[in-house]
């Protein structure tokens, strides 16, 4: 167990010291949030509603990007031979994957916190203290399926492909999930599909919190389903790569 803590520390350091991760991973969602909420918007009750909804959407988008990005790091480690080196340390393979997933969860926090801070400090979003706390906790925990999706890609694909596929996953999930633009603007059939995508339900955890309610049973069930799907994919990919590398 101390080994896994050291491993998580090592991986978190590696990620947070990456200027690309800090600038794009954290800066982009903040910038997009501020642009989307301050360009062409008028002052009014609708305006604050949009500032809150978009804050949750962009925080979710930032968290999603960091979570999926964990897999890009794994693919890189595979090509460096670091995964092979890890296999000859006494740390059991299961702990390596788990440690990596937990490290991925930690690196989700900066983007999440930065967007919420921009909402509170720049856009004047006011929520109860418990709501802020619940937002952080729910969006943080809810990012786990996406970390697993990234890990699955990372073990499954080559370093170059993983980067592209992960960005593709991020874009599709964010757009289809209504993280950038509300799904209310979608045509009806697309809206129905969108409600079953993982990113949409992920953001719902936040949207229901800002409305002062608990996330619905459907939201939890849909997210749990995706957790199983992405988790199985991660396990499958890991086993497959352990056989071939």
């Amino acid at each position: 167990m101390p080994a896994m803590l050291e491993y998580i520390k090592l991986e978190v350091r590696r990620t947070l010291r990456d200027p690309g991760f800090v600038i794009f991973g954290t800066g982009m969602p903040v910038l997009m949030y501020l642009l989307f909420t301050n360009l062409g918007g008028g002052a009014g009750p609708d305006d604050m509603e949009w500032k809150i909804a978009s804050m949750v959407g962009m925080a979710a988008y930032g968290a999603l990007g960091a979570a999926v990005g964990t897999g890009t790091g794994i693919a890189e480690d595979k090509s460096l031979g670091w995964l092979r080196q890890l296999r000859i340390t006494p740390m059991p393979p299961r702990q390596v994957v788990l440690g990596r997933a937990l490290a991925g969860s930690v690196t989700v926090l900066p983007a999440l916190l930065a967007v919420l801070a921009a909402g509170g400090l720049v856009n004047g979003v006011r929520l109860a203290l418990w709501q802020w706390a619940a937002l952080v906790a729910l969006l943080w925990a809810g990012a786990l399926p996406f970390t697993l999706l990234g890990i699955g890609n990372g073990y499954h694909l080559s370093a170059q492909t993983t980067g592209v596929v992960n960005v593709g996953c991020l874009m599709v999930l964010a757009l289809a999930g209504g993280l950038w633009f509300p799904i209310a603007a979608f045509p009806g059939w697309l809206r129905t599909i969108a409600e079953y995508t993982p990113a949409n339900r992920f953001a719902y955890l936040g949207w229901s919190t800002t409305q002062g309610t608990a996330p619905g049973a459907t939201t939890i069930a849909v997210l749990a389903g995706w957790l199983v799907v992405f988790g199985s994919y991660a396990v499958f990919s890991y086993r497959r790569s352990a056989r071939t590398t």
């Binding site: 101390p2 080994a3 803590l5 050291e6 491993y7 520390k9 090592l10 350091r13 590696r14 010291r17 990456d18 480690d77 460096l80 031979g81 670091w82 092979r84 080196q85 296999r87 000859i88 340390t89 006494p90 740390m91 059991p92």
Partner: protein
Amino acid sequence: MTQTAGTPATDTPDRGTHTASTGPAHATDAAATDAVSFTGVVKAFGAVRAVDVIDLRVPRGEAVALLGRNGAGKSTAIGLLLGLDEPDSGTVRLFGGPPARAVTAGRVGAMLQDGRPIRRVTVRELLTFVASTYPHPLPLAESLGLAGLTELAGRRVDKLSGGQLQRVRFAVALAGGPELLVLDEPTAALDVEARRAFWSSMRAYADRGNTVLFSTHYLEEADDNADRIVVIDHGRIVADGTSEQIKGSVGGHLVCFDLPEGFTAELTRLPGVVSAEVRAGRARLRTDDSDATVVALAGLDAIRRLEVAPATLEDAFLALTHTTRDAKDEMKDDTKDGL
């Protein structure tokens, strides 16, 4: 001990056969005296048999060199030894159990050949992590010192030169204080000075009673730093013993002389001669009785610029491994910088 059908057990202990009920336990005990044991191990990649039936036992505390040219099967053998790859047939045992068990128990440390640096961590952070995964690691200062990294502890791994990085890989292998240290081409990127320091640290670590197995294509390194040399060629062990034994096994001396005009005697028929080669008018005879060979040459009045020298490990290596023309040419390229 499990044996795969079709591969004869070379080390079936006679003492184990009549105690069938306690057989497995006995076999484990017997093998436990060995740090490493390969029994009839085969590994093929496609049509290429990278490891083509290897039987090898390394008792604890021994320093063993796996010597062979590039592509001889050394790295494949090391991958099998560490449990990174599974043999197609045969058995690999470390301390009497499967490799994965010894690895998980923290008894093995290894330096892989192809590892590139992970980014954005310092040498100290990397070694602290690796040490934390072992039950009885070396103190950090000690692994840094042995690898000559004390000055570089705060530097980022990805900012180091090739030679410095090689020392980091060595430190990673040492950090856990393993009983079995496995080093694949450990001195590949090191300059002369760093190489000397590396071997003195390696020997210091071996002298504490640890087992060390390293691969190299540098003959001198094998000669100077191993108790025992295992020569691998085309996935097979072609010689196994001390440097002296290996030199002796291929003919103890070289007799060289300029061939006189019109010399007709068949060189390999001369007394003591094991093999003969003529290059640019000069004959090189490998002989296991140099006195008899020289006397015979004198009788033929063939002594021109005569030289008699003990066979070097290089000669032995060449004799053992140049089974095909291609292999010989390729090997010369690989070994020349090591000589």
